[in-house]
């Protein structure tokens, strides 16, 4: 304390030089929209956890079937309904290939040299590969459905808001009628008419899915389109197309991203739901929904068939939801602390 006082002498205190040219200088580094969002996102531990889970699951969905030794479609009844067995864990008494009664099924079926990490199903297909194959299909359907929703929703909402007047009036009346139709009813009807398959599920999901997005985009656009920077741009001779793509869309981007992140889990849920009531994909293609449905039928005897796909679908849904929540907190200026 005293030591420091010795160094602080009178002549150290000089009036600061005021440079009027520097008064406008910005001290903090200027952050782009993305950098700023990332900074607040990083503080949100749950969202980071969600991102890590999503990356891991995507990685496994792509490479999982290659990591396992067994093919997802090859059947072999001599190894049907095997419980999970993992090399190191089996020494600790978990996932050691024993069934509900405590018998070692691997020994009984004479396949003691093999390890099915998540067991096998009723036709002897490896569950590890099937689950990741299913995750791949589920994610594919959800991402594509969300992308189509995004495209139609943004275009429809954008046009409706930007042109306004009669165009807006007609387009919004259509939306008002469509929004009254329960999503579930329409999805089921579409699936009944189209044959079950990936394409028809995607069509069914997107046929009403875009409405929410279009309304949100329209609302935001209406707010933005009368602001000065748009007027300035128009005065300078920018075309409608340019104003929409260069000025309006970037400004509603955060809302679009947040909404898409919430659409994806909904699409995953609907796909699984349809599969569960028997309107989903047909074998041999598997999605998480069909795996759960298969597993549910034999849940009492072979719980592993139901539990592992359930865990994966729950993890995906939780991860998407918390990342979406985190993104909303990070991107939406109203949610800032």
């Amino acid at each position: 304390m005293s030591k420091r006082e010795e160094h602080v002498t009178e002549e150290l205190f000089q009036p600061a030089h005021i440079d009027s040219g520097k008064s406008e200088e910005i001290a903090a580094p200027s952050l782009s929209f993305g950098q700023d969002a990332w900074r607040s996102m990083r503080k949100n531990k749950a969202a980071i956890f969600g991102i890590i889970v999503l990356i891991a699951l995507t990685f496994l969905a792509i490479f999982g079937p290659m990591i396992g030794k067994y093919d997802f479609a090859s059947q072999d009844l001599s190894r049907a309904n095997l419980p999970p067995r993992v090399p190191v864990l089996e020494d600790f008494g978990i996932m050691d290939g024993t069934d509900e009664m405590g018998n070692n099924v691997y020994e009984f079926k004479g396949v003691k040299d093999q390890y099915f990490w998540l067991g096998t199903d009723g036709l002897g297909r490896d569950m590890w590969s099937r689950i990741w194959q299913g995750t791949r299909i589920s994610l594919f359907i959800a991402l594509l459905a969300a992308a189509i929703d995004l495209l139609i929703g943004v275009v429809y909402g954008g046009i409706s808001a930007y042109y306004g007047g009669r165009v807006d009036n007609v387009m919004q009346r259509i939306v008002e009628i469509l929004i009254g139709i329960p999503n579930l009813v329409l999805v089921i009807l579409m699936i009944l008419v189209l044959d079950a398959g990936i394409t028809s599920i995607i069509i069914a999901l997107t046929i009403t899915g875009w409405i929410g997005m279009s309304r949100i985009v329209r609302g935001q656009m209406l707010k933005l389109k009368n602001q000065e920077f748009v007027l300035a741009s128009r005065t300078l001779g920018a075309t409608d197309n340019k104003i929409i793509t260069q000025h309006l869309i970037p400004n509603v981007l955060s809302v679009i991203i947040i909404n898409t992140m919430f659409t994806i889990p909904t699409a995953i849920f609907f796909e699984a739901f349809l599969s569960f009531i028997g309107l989903g994909l047909q074998p041999p293609i598997a999605s998480l929904g069909t795996l759960i449905e298969d597993g549910y039928r034999n849940m009492q005897i072979f719980p592993h068939l139901m539990i592992y796909p359930s865990i994966i679908i729950s993890l995906i849904m939780i991860a998407f939801n918390i990342v979406a929540d985190g993104l909303r907190d990070a991107l939406d200026p109203k949610m800032r602390d």
Binding site: G180, N183, I188, L189, F273, F276, M306, I318
Partner: protein
């Protein structure tokens, strides 16, 4: 307000007409008729059966007849159950579904609201994180996964409650729980956001400054005002519950409307599919309409600003 209601009822009728027509024509497009799987019939027998179901007339006539009948509440005859009309089938099945739905809404909203309040008054503490975590889990895990797990662990392993069927109140506990998870999650999230907003308002500060006790501020001032917007989620919740009943009734073998719907899909019983679809749509649209009107009636701020657009 009157003009608003008229406008909304008008849209509701258009939407229902559209759904009825779309359902009718979509089902006409589908291949096959109720006889294609039956045993060989003589041409005469086939004609009699087709006449019985009104399938002998040209499609436009069938359409007009169907729409006329729908207006009088006649939804046609079921293909699957001989000679039973769809309307009575739906009315017979509605009891268990309604009971499940109401129980789930009541139980779910009470728990959800309490969790939401807890979250808001203990903002950024372990309580808040805990109930937010429950809400995220509840929103994320599909209801049928939860139902299957409940059935397996509580019903089969622990044997605390019956696994399936519908023979008394205890049979409704597990399906209600499975349905209520989503309700709890949605209510808790919504209540938390609303409470946080209300707690930041100046009249709360005023009440505190006047020396009103903490309990009174929370329950008399804040909770009451936060609950008003909660009515708006009733519409989406009803839709979600409907989706939920389809699978949950199937899982727990509850003889409700959802189970019937799933069954009629697998057996291609088109009149039942059409009837139930219309019924679901009507119910949902009516719920949303009532919710919107109620909201305007209850919250004077909306009425004063000229009604909802």
């Amino acid at each position: 307000m009157k003009g608003y209601i008229t406008k909304r009822v008008f849209y509701m009728i258009i939407t229902l007409l559209l759904i009825a027509s779309a359902t009718f024509f979509l089902i006409k497009v589908m291949p096959g008729n109720p006889l294609s799987n039956a045993a060989k019939l003589t041409a005469e027998q086939e004609a009699i059966i087709l006449e019985n179901y009104g399938l002998d007339k040209p499609v436009p006539v069938q359409y007009l007849l169907y729409m006329g009948n729908v207006l009088t509440g006649d939804l046609g005859l079921s293909f699957q159950y001989d000679g039973r009309d769809v309307t009575s089938l739906i009315l017979n099945r509605i009891g268990p579904s309604a009971q499940l739905g109401i129980q789930a809404i009541l139980f779910g909203s009470v728990i959800g609201i309490l969790l939401g309040i807890l979250s808001a008054i203990r903002y950024n503490t372990i309580w808040d994180y805990g109930s937010t975590f429950i809400a995220v889990i509840g929103i994320s895990i599909p209801s049928f996964v939860f139902a299957a797990l409940l059935q397996y662990y509580v019903g089969v392993k622990l044997q605390w409650l019956p696994v399936a069927f519908w023979e008394g109140f205890e049979y409704s506990i597990l399906p209600t729980l499975a349905l209520a998870v989503g309700v709890i999650a949605v209510c808790a999230r919504f209540m938390r956001t609303e409470m946080l907003e209300v707690l930041g308002q100046e009249y709360i500060t005023t009440a505190r400054a006047k020396g009103v006790s903490g309990f009174s501020v929370i329950f008399k001032h804040a909770v009451r005002n936060s609950m008003i917007p909660l009515i708006t989620i009733l519409g989406p919740l009803t839709a979600a519950l409907m989706t939920g009943t389809l699978v949950i009734e199937k899982i727990f073998a509850v003889p409700g409307l959802g189970e019937q719907f799933v069954l009629s899909i697998t057996t291609n019983d088109y009149p039942v599919i059409m009837g139930t679809t219309l019924f679901f749509s009507f119910f949902l649209i009516l719920t949303i309409l009532i919710v919107d009107i109620l909201y305007g009636v209850i919250d004077p701020r909306i009425r004063l600003s000229g009604g909802k657009e």
